[in-house]
């Protein structure tokens, strides 16, 4: 059905279609609309699910873990400080190999208190073992959430998935949304190591160094396998519903001398900048990085690369710029921009390309090149 919706409502609509058995959540701006809408679905009988309003995000993830370990499909949503508050349990969900799906509406971290978009919250959970996808449109928020369940629950993966959407600039923007009849796209959740509440057993909680080490390798092996599973699921989604996704969304990259790499809404707006630059005769393209974990292979060799980081690792640099540097073997022009919702337009992005200085870093609007 074709309608218009906000990014938050699109996520909620996808969750309704996925029919999780348990949703546990705590509200936080700018995510609140997601869990409010899901609570309304449950209250109105549109979604048969146990909705658990917990007292904190730590408990939200703990409740999802407790439900998921019985083999039930689970969902939660959070932002910013909420995500940080559940950090311990975020690690636990991945270590326990539970296919929890969580929407994270990317928001800056205080102080200063700020509810606008930034990716540092998600990147602070980078090493937890969660898969992370970043979306750029309302439609993609819906599609990626649906696919997240299928990818997480695949027996070759069995790891939780975080669907990231920019606070306000995507969570609260209204765009076209085509909701689908998912049919049998999402089979019932099957967890091979689910506990059987009818046949309770005790498990030794202590794991020795040798087994622990093997478990950690097993997470990494599944992460590597996840690349193929993601491609399969995105391929099947395209066949069924006609919308195509990949590890990146490449725009006019084929013959590009310079490529802009960005994530989320900035990655989408970059396409407008590319059209302007092409009109000036600058052979530019853009690559919107969708999957951050597992990190994809990127073909950027032999071209100038401009990376826009809506995040920062203090004392080191932009997280995406560093990832590109180490994984794609190029020395990008690193632009730090959009932190805490800083206004960045397509004109600004075009300027980043025109003024690029490969190998250097700049903080947009704050200082000169450093």
């Amino acid at each position: 059905m074709l309608t218009i919706a906000t990014g938050n409502k699109a996520v909620a609509a996808a969750v309704k279609a996925a029919r999780p058995g348990v949703v546990a959540a705590y509200p936080i701006t700018p995510q609140t609309e997601i869990v409010e809408q899901i609570a309304e679905y449950v209250t109105d009988g549109d979604l048969e699910s146990r909705y658990i309003p917990v007292e904190s995000e730590h408990s939200a993830m703990a409740a999802c873990i407790g439900a998921s370990v019985t083999g039930v499909r689970t969902f939660t949503a959070t932002s910013s400080h909420g995500l940080l508050y559940m950090h311990e349990m975020v690690h636990w969900a991945a270590g326990a190999r539970l296919p929890v799906v969580m929407a994270n509406v990317n928001r800056a971290l205080g102080p200063g208190w700020n509810t606008w978009a930034e990716h540092t919250d998600a990147f602070s959970q980078r090493d937890t073992g969660w898969l992370q996808v970043f979306v750029g449109t309302v439609q993609e928020a819906y599609d990626a959430t649906l696919m997240a369940f299928k990818i997480a629950e695949d027996e070759r993966v069995l790891l939780p998935v975080m669907v990231n959407l920019d606070g306000f600039s995507l969570s609260h923007i209204t765009q076209a949304l085509d909701t689908v009849d998912i049919g049998d796209f999402l089979p019932p959740c099957h967890l091979p190591h689910a506990i059987d509440t009818e046949n309770p057993l005790g498990y030794g909680p202590m794991t020795g160094p040798a087994d622990y080490f093997r478990f950690r390798w097993d997470i990494e092996r599944s992460m590597r396998d996840a690349r193929g599973v993601i491609a399969e699921v995105e391929g099947e989604f395209c066949e069924r519903f006609g919308r195509s996704y990949g590890p990146t969304e490449d725009y006019r990259c084929e013959d590009a001398d310079v490529v802009v790499v960005a994530m989320g809404t900035l990655g989408k707006e970059a396409e407008v900048a590319i059209d302007r630059l092409r009109d000036e005769g600058i052979k530019a393209g853009s690559m919107r990085l969708r999957w951050f974990r597992p990190f994809p292979d990127l073909d950027l060799a032999g071209r100038d690369v401009v990376v826009i980081d809506r995040d920062y690792s203090f004392g080191f640099g932009g997280v995406v710029a560093h990832s590109i540097r180490s994984k794609a073997g190029v020395s990008p022009y690193s632009v730090i921009a959009g932190l805490g919702g800083q206004e960045v337009t397509y004109n600004d992005i075009a300027d980043f390309v025109r003024d690029r200085r490969p190998g250097e870093e700049t903080w947009f609007g704050v200082n000169d090149h450093v």
Partner: protein, 175 residues
């Protein structure tokens, strides 16, 4: 692309007006995005919302800096906010006012949305509802069609007085 900036005060329905307008444009078969700018505002504080309408998918998420049309739902804001900032040459201003206001250059239109809302008794928590009548004025200006404006209102509100108010604004606005 046609770009619209809506000025209002928190609680007056500017954000919903943007959504209604985007929905009406969408029902006209166009692409549209509605994008409120949320600050630390609260009831009564000046707020701004943006609407973009185009024949192609819209990839812009940043704010509108050079609008084609500025809508002012509460003209008392004009004392504290420069509502004309960045208005394109030849751009239009639509004011919620029973009378023309001097100092608004460009093509300035006015319609008494507050009076229309009060006549229909469209009042919530003491505030007249402005976001449904303004759709009628925008239909008169040709931004959206009247049938799509009415459809958008019916999709979001059950109370038929909203449609009546939109029609009244359509009749009253002298475009």
């Amino acid at each position: 692309m046609y770009e619209i900036r809506i000025h209002s005060r928190g609680g007056q329905g500017g954000v919903t007006a943007a959504k209604l307008l985007a929905l009406a444009a969408f029902r006209d078969g166009k692409y549209a995005t509605a994008c409120p700018f949320y600050g630390a505002e609260r009831r009564g504080a000046p707020v701004v919302s943006f609407v973009r309408i185009d024949g192609e998918p819209i990839k812009i998420y940043s704010q509108i800096h050079e609008p084609d049309l500025v809508i002012v739902l509460d003209t008392s804001i004009m004392d504290v906010v420069d509502v004309l900032q960045g208005l394109k040459a030849g751009g239009t201003v639509l004011l919620n006012s029973a009378h023309p206001i001097t100092g608004c250059n460009g093509a300035s239109l006015h319609v008494d949305l507050t009076g229309i809302a009060l006549a229909e008794n469209l009042v919530v928590a003491g505030s007249p509802i402005l976001n449904t009548p303004v759709l009628g004025a925008l239909a008169k200006m040709g931004i959206v069609t009247l049938p799509s404006a009415e459809q958008a209102i019916r999709e979001m509100f059950a109370d038929e007085r909203n449609v009546k108010a939109a029609r009244a604004a359509y009749e009253e606005l002298k475009a």
